[in-house]
């Protein structure tokens, strides 16, 4: 089974995010980028499928993403069999719609049995990758998945709903999965192995023709949320604050 894991570089949320001067976008120049946490989960789940039933795992990134090579080599250090950097003409590679079109072009050239990617990314404005990719490819897709296993005639996935209900689905391949959480936390990639992967090289660059992306929303402006309110901060020692809280609860008849 050939599993392709598209990964996306998103701004590191630990940092302060600045807007561009005209306020229609995020100032990406001095930002730190990291692999989207859901894509890290997706890679982990793909590797778990590989560990359990043997599969070829290919990590794929877009050349326009900052520091994407580092992320791809990290995927190899974690156990991916190979990595591909996709180049091509995309209208606006910050929009998921364009990314889906480009990746659809890649998958037309190098088809996969299964695509597992993060169910969403923190900067998804115009939609999520998995369903858009599946729509271009004409393949079935399932999002908010918390487990993927190879099965007779395809895969079995577990789809999660609010409140903890889980549906187990049998899905025929080829298919696209939007992963919410892997069955275990993403494994650690020791720096030595990442460096070894970098030295060994072996990243393939593939130029593709994108599929036709659908219409995208236009950004009128970006802004910071107004803080409508802020908590009234309780001060003093732990005992003082505990007393204040106890009073608040007593007033409401909860104690």
């Amino acid at each position: 089974m050939r599993i392709v894991v598209p990964i996306k570089a998103v701004p590191d949320l630990v940092e302060e995010i600045e807007l561009t001067a005209d306020q229609t976008g995020i100032d990406r120049e001095f930002l730190k980028f990291v692999v989207s946490e859901w894509d890290a989960q997706a890679l982990e789940e793909a590797l778990l499928v590989k560990d359990a039933s043997g599969a070829e795992v290919v990590a794929v990134g877009l050349a326009s993403d900052p520091d994407i090579d580092q992320a791809l080599y990290t995927a190899i250090a974690k156990g991916a069999d190979s990595a591909v950097r996709v180049t091509g003409d995309a209208d606006d590679s910050t929009l998921t719609g364009s990314r889906a079109a480009l990746l659809a072009g890649y998958l037309a050239a190098e088809p996969a049995d299964l695509v597992i990617t993060g169910v969403q990314a923190a900067d998804d404005l115009d939609g999520q990758l998995a369903p858009m990719l599946a729509a271009h490819l004409g393949q079935p897709h399932v999002s908010v998945v918390v487990g993927v296993e190879a099965a007779e005639g395809g895969i079995t996935v577990r789809q999660e709903f609010a409140g903890g209900r889980v549906h187990e689905l049998a899905v025929g391949l080829p298919a696209v999965i939007g992963l919410q959480a892997a069955r275990q936390a993403p494994r650690y990639a020791p720096i030595t192995r990442i460096r070894q992967a970098m030295q060994a090289g072996g990243l393939r660059v593939v130029a593709v023709e994108p599929a036709t992306a659908g219409p995208a929303p236009t950004v009128r402006r970006m802004l910071r949320p107004e803080q409508a309110s802020h908590a009234q901060m309780l001060t003093g020692s732990a005992d003082d604050v505990a007393a204040a809280i106890a009073d608040l609860l007593r007033d409401r008849g909860l104690v």
Partner: protein, 320 residues
């Protein structure tokens, strides 16, 4: 150009969800601004239309494949409805079905989609949606120009009350599309969350723990507080993912929505997915050593005292 606003209904086979009513309420006012009507797409049991009094039209597709939610089946049904009704704007939630359907429809129906919407309005005949991105740090005002658009709306954005109604909507039956007989996936099993545990949605007070609790051992410390108060513990997603508390205690977008009289949050930073599950509580008291934690934006009272000092002090005060 049509002025119809179509809401995709979510249900569990017996009951239309609260989220659907929230969207229906919004759909009614948006539709009137667009010069059209509010319609609801209902897949599966047709009799549920009786619960959608607030809609002008209920567009129904019924077929055995739609008895339970199945991504591919709902998608085929949705595309059939979109082809028939040609709405101006389609509304769905950001819960699981919304995540399956919205982006796929954007490509197959060729419409711009605004994801994670927290505000929706019509300005000069143009639909403007405000999307919340980057963990809530940035808002993007998006213009959805053209004849058709889709918006995926975060739960709790609109009031559910506005979506209820006592009217009798027209029920339009759409023939099940052929795709429903050629599905490439099937539902094997449904697992409800384990019962027998506390129902946190029914509790008047919740003592909630987040990543700041650091380890499973420390949950015991907070359990003592819960015991002293006589109310159950709940948790944010990271705590449940780590296995320190069962899934039935998870508050948030992929857990449960709670509206207790008091919500005590210990070591919870306040990521948007968590806030979605508890921001409507009557009294929110947050304890987090980071004064910049987003939880303080929704909490009524807050403190930066370390929870490992506060929890024992509070347990002691309440045991007196």
């Amino acid at each position: 150009m049509s002025g119809t606003v179509l809401v995709i209904a979510e249900h569990d086979g017996k009951q239309i969800s609260d989220g659907t009513y929230e969207l229906l309420g919004a759909a009614r006012s948006l539709a009137s601004a667009l010069g059209g009507a509010a319609e609801v797409a209902l897949f599966g049991p047709r009799d549920l239309a009786g619960q959608l009094g607030g809609a002008s039209v209920v567009v129904s597709v019924d077929h055995p494949a739609l008895a339970q939610y199945l991504p591919e089946a709902y998608e085929e049904a949705l595309l059939a409805v979109l082809a028939e009704r040609s709405p101006r704007l389609v509304l769905m939630s950001t819960a699981t079905p919304g995540l399956d359907l919205g982006a796929a429809a954007a490509v197959r129906w060729q419409a711009p989609l605004a994801a994670c919407v927290t505000k929706l309005e019509v300005a000069d005949g143009v639909v403007v949606a405000t999307a919340q991105i980057l963990g809530g740090k940035v808002l993007a005002e998006l213009q959805l120009a053209g004849e058709r658009a889709i918006a995926a709306v975060i739960g709790g954005t609109f009031p559910a009350a506005a979506g209820h109604g006592t009217g009798t909507p027209d029920v339009v039956e759409i023939a099940p599309p052929a795709g429903l007989d050629q599905l490439r996936m099937s539902l094997v099993q449904v697992t409800e969350p384990p019962g027998g545990d506390v129902d946190i949605t029914a509790a008047d007070l919740l003592v909630s723990v987040g990543r700041g609790i650091e380890s499973q051992d420390n949950v015991e410390l907070v359990q003592e507080l819960g015991d002293a108060l006589g109310f159950p513990l709940s948790a944010s997603r990271p705590v449940v993912d780590a296995g320190w508390l069962p899934k039935t205690r998870q508050v948030g977008k992929s857990g449960l929505k709670v509206k207790p009289k008091a919500y005590l949050a210990f070591g919870i930073s306040g990521a948007p997915e968590h806030l979605e599950g508890m921001r409507d509580a009557d009294l929110i008291i947050a304890c987090n050593t980071d004064p910049g934690a987003p939880i303080f934006d929704v909490a009524h009272y807050g403190t930066t005292i370390d929870l490992f000092d506060l929890v024992p002090a509070l347990t002691e005060k309440l045991s007196q």
